[in-house]
């Protein structure tokens, strides 16, 4: 599995990435949405974990842009507790949006990632 993490908090995202790597997951992390977008341009990932609130380009917008490049990528959103409602309002019309509330437990994240990847395999 190839995973990309995007969050403007470096201290958070670097630690998380390292933890995923320790568990044998191929992970790359970015603090800037635009840089991440560029990276996608040179090669698709299986799954992207995005922070919803980021400077310059927000999580939802980033997802839309990335989807344009790599349509098959899965996305998991990370949102702060307070902004959960706003996020839900913004994605009300979309089915099956995956999101987790920060701070996220590693186990929960892994389970979510697993189910997303496998569900796609089951679909076809």
């Amino acid at each position: 599995m190839r995973v990309m993490l995007v969050d403007d908090e470096e201290e958070l995202i670097s630690a998380l990435a390292e933890r995923l790597i320790l568990r044998g997951i191929d992970t790359e992390w970015f603090t800037c949405g635009l840089t991440a977008l560029e990276r996608v341009g040179s090669g698709c990932f299986d799954l992207v974990v995005l922070d919803v609130k980021m400077p310059r380009i927000g999580g939802l917008e980033l997802r839309d842009k990335m989807r344009a490049v790599c349509p098959d990528m899965k996305f998991i959103f990370l949102t702060g507790y307070g902004s959960e409602r706003d996020f839900l309002l913004a994605t009300a019309r979309e089915p099956n949006v995956c999101y987790l509330v920060k701070p996220v437990e590693i186990g929960v994240l892994l389970a979510e990632m697993k189910s997303l990847i496998e569900s796609d395999g089951a679909k076809t």
């Binding site: 908090e9 630690a15 390292e18 933890r19 320790l22 702060g80 701070p103």
Partner: protein, 579 residues
């Protein structure tokens, strides 16, 4: 029983109430406004009334008094005229007789007797005797009941007077046989110019008394005559018998009728009308008691006063009623306004607390996540990497960090939930869950003080109700906080949920704290009522709780016993209609 207490208006005794900051001047001022309004209105309404009544009173009193004086005066004048005429008439009769008859004729007792008979007949009694006296003062002839022939009057003062003045009228005296009478004498100078005759007649006082008693004098009046020494010449009703000394002071000489006010021996005010009867030693006195005369006036006066008192009372009652009503309205309006202001303040406060709480929680969550993630990484390194497996001690220290992160996370989440729920919204609410959530805010305090809390659903099928979660949380938080304040350490709080009929649910909060006294219980939901003023209570908590309960369509009740505990009961509709 209707008692004076019921008459006291609501705003009177506000000692129970806490003055909201800055408004303390209002609560006491209602009484002042009340007093001032009544005082001012009464003065303006009653002042002129009283003034005019007094003026009226004085004027009427004076006019009645002066009328009585006039009447008295007139009576005296008329009576005086009658008496004067009476005396003059008789004097003229004697005068005529003495001029019409020679001395010789008059010396004849038989002739004198005839004349006396004629006099008696013509003048209707009164003449008692008749006598002729010569220049030497010797009684020449006499007819009458007494034995006066040959009596010598030469040295008597009256004789000298009659010689001097041509006539004489005596005062009344007791003559022979103790009958009071007076004497009229006229002088007739003889043709020779040197000698004279004096015709002397005694007149009884009956005619005077008849005349005087025939007068209609009101006021327990007394009409009589006195002489210049104050000796009564006729009988009087109240001032002495004839020939006694009058009990009244002798009036000042005057040529006309006078009416003066005086006092009798008993201290009663009298109107004394008098007239000196000219050419006689008599003073006519007509005495009336002022109090009798003015009886009619007194009756009118009484009615006037009663009217004044009656209307004044009525006016005062109306004014008092109206002012009380108005001040009450003002008070109620002020209270409502204050309540509104406070509600708004409360809402604003809650809103800003909410915002602040949300932003604080949010701010905290980020560093919390970083701590958690990095701690988790350290733990992973210890777990996955061989080289760190020996550092058991360090490995163990990560777990407390992770636990604390989890705990902090829960707290911020609770804060955020509470803040979020402050916006009004109708949604499905699990009551037990909501209560437990609220309790979690107070867990630490409960633990610390050893307060035992029990939550239970008494009905098996407690429904999930449609209501405003935010408001419910505030209501529950408030009631539980109050319970905590009332409970001693180691106390109990029982929270029971149950269905109530088909459409409602009931939540009961029972504690075994110190309870609420019956007097306080009456006012407990009123705004600004507080028993905690000395440690910062605003008195708004339960009033707002009550308001919130009503806003979500519910009712709240409280029962309490001092020393035993308190029980708050809330009933809510299962379905709140969203506005």
């Amino acid at each position: 029983m209707f008692s004076l207490k019921d008459l006291k208006p609501n705003f009177w005794n506000k000692r129970l109430w806490v003055s909201p900051p800055g408004a303390s001047q209002y609560l006491f001022n209602y009484r002042r406004i009340w007093y001032l309004s009544i005082l001012l209105t009464s003065t303006v309404a009653l002042g002129p009334l009283i003034f005019i009544t007094l003026v009226n009173y004085r004027v009427t009193e004076e006019s009645i008094e002066s009328e009585w004086l006039l009447r008295s005066s007139r009576t005296v004048s008329n009576t005086h005229r009658a008496i004067s005429f009476f005396l003059t008439e008789r004097r003229s009769a004697l005068d005529f007789i003495v001029h019409d008859n020679h001395g010789k004729e008059l010396s004849d007792p038989a002739r004198l007797s005839t004349i006396l008979e004629n006099l008696k007949r013509s003048f209707g009694g009164g003449f008692l005797d008749l006598g002729l006296i010569d220049s030497a003062g010797k009684q020449i002839s006499y007819v009458g009941p007494y034995e006066l022939t040959d009596k010598d009057y030469s040295d008597q003062s009256w004789f000298e007077q009659v010689v001097d003045r041509e006539f004489y009228i005596s005062d009344v005296f007791l003559g022979y046989r103790n009958v009071p009478h007076l004497v009229i004498a006229v002088k007739q100078t003889c043709p020779d110019g040197k000698t004279f005759h004096v015709l002397r007649a005694s007149i009884g006082i009956r005619p005077f008394e008849d005349l005087l008693s025939s007068l209609e004098i009101g006021g327990l009046g007394d009409a009589f005559m006195i002489n210049h020494q104050g000796i009564l010449q006729t009988n009087s009703h109240y001032h002495g018998r004839v020939l006694a000394q009058s009990s009244l002071p002798i009036p000042e000489p005057a040529s006309t009728t006078r009416v003066i006010e005086g006092e009798d021996v008993g201290g009663e005010t009298l109107f004394v009308g008098y007239r000196f009867i000219e050419s006689t030693p008599f003073i006519l006195m007509i005495v009336k008691r002022k109090s009798e005369l003015l009886k009619a006036w007194y009756n009118t006066r009484m009615r006037l006063i009663l009217f004044l008192v009656g209307s004044a009372t009525f006016i005062l009652a109306v004014i008092t009623g109206m002012v009380t009503f108005m001040v009450n309205r003002v008070h109620v309006a002020d209270e409502r306004r204050l309540m509104s202001l406070h509600k708004m303040e409360y809402t604003n406060k809650m809103a800003s607390i909410g915002r602040m709480a949300a932003s604080v929680a949010h701010e905290i969550n980020n560093p919390l996540a970083i701590i958690g993630e990095n701690a988790g990484l350290i733990k992973d390194l210890f777990t996955f990497k061989e080289e760190y497996s020996k550092h058991e001690h360090l490995h163990k220290m990560i777990d407390p960090v992770l636990h604390s992160v989890a705990r902090a996370g829960k707290i911020t989440r609770r804060l955020l939930t509470f803040a979020r729920n402050l916006d009004a919204a109708v949604e499905p609410v699990n009551l037990e869950e909501t209560i437990r959530e609220v309790l979690s805010f107070l867990n630490k305090e409960a633990e610390h003080r050893g307060i035992h809390i029990q939550v239970e659903s008494l009905s098996d099928d407690m429904p999930v109700i449609q209501s405003d979660r935010g408001k419910l949380e505030q209501i529950f938080l408030n009631i539980i906080n109050n319970a905590f304040a009332a409970l001693a350490d180691d106390g109990h709080l029982w929270i029971e949920l149950a269905r109530h009929g088909a459409e409602e649910v009931q939540i009961r909060f029972r504690d075994d704290g110190h309870g609420i006294s019956p007097e306080d219980l009456e006012h407990i939901f009123e705004p600004f009522f507080s028993t905690k003023t000395d440690h910062g209570g605003t008195g708004l908590g339960l009033s707002i709780t009550s308001n919130l309960t009503h806003e979500i369509g519910g009712r709240i009740q409280v029962e309490s016993e001092v020393g035993k505990g308190t029980c708050f009961t809330i009933r809510l509709p299962m379905k709140l209609e969203a506005e």
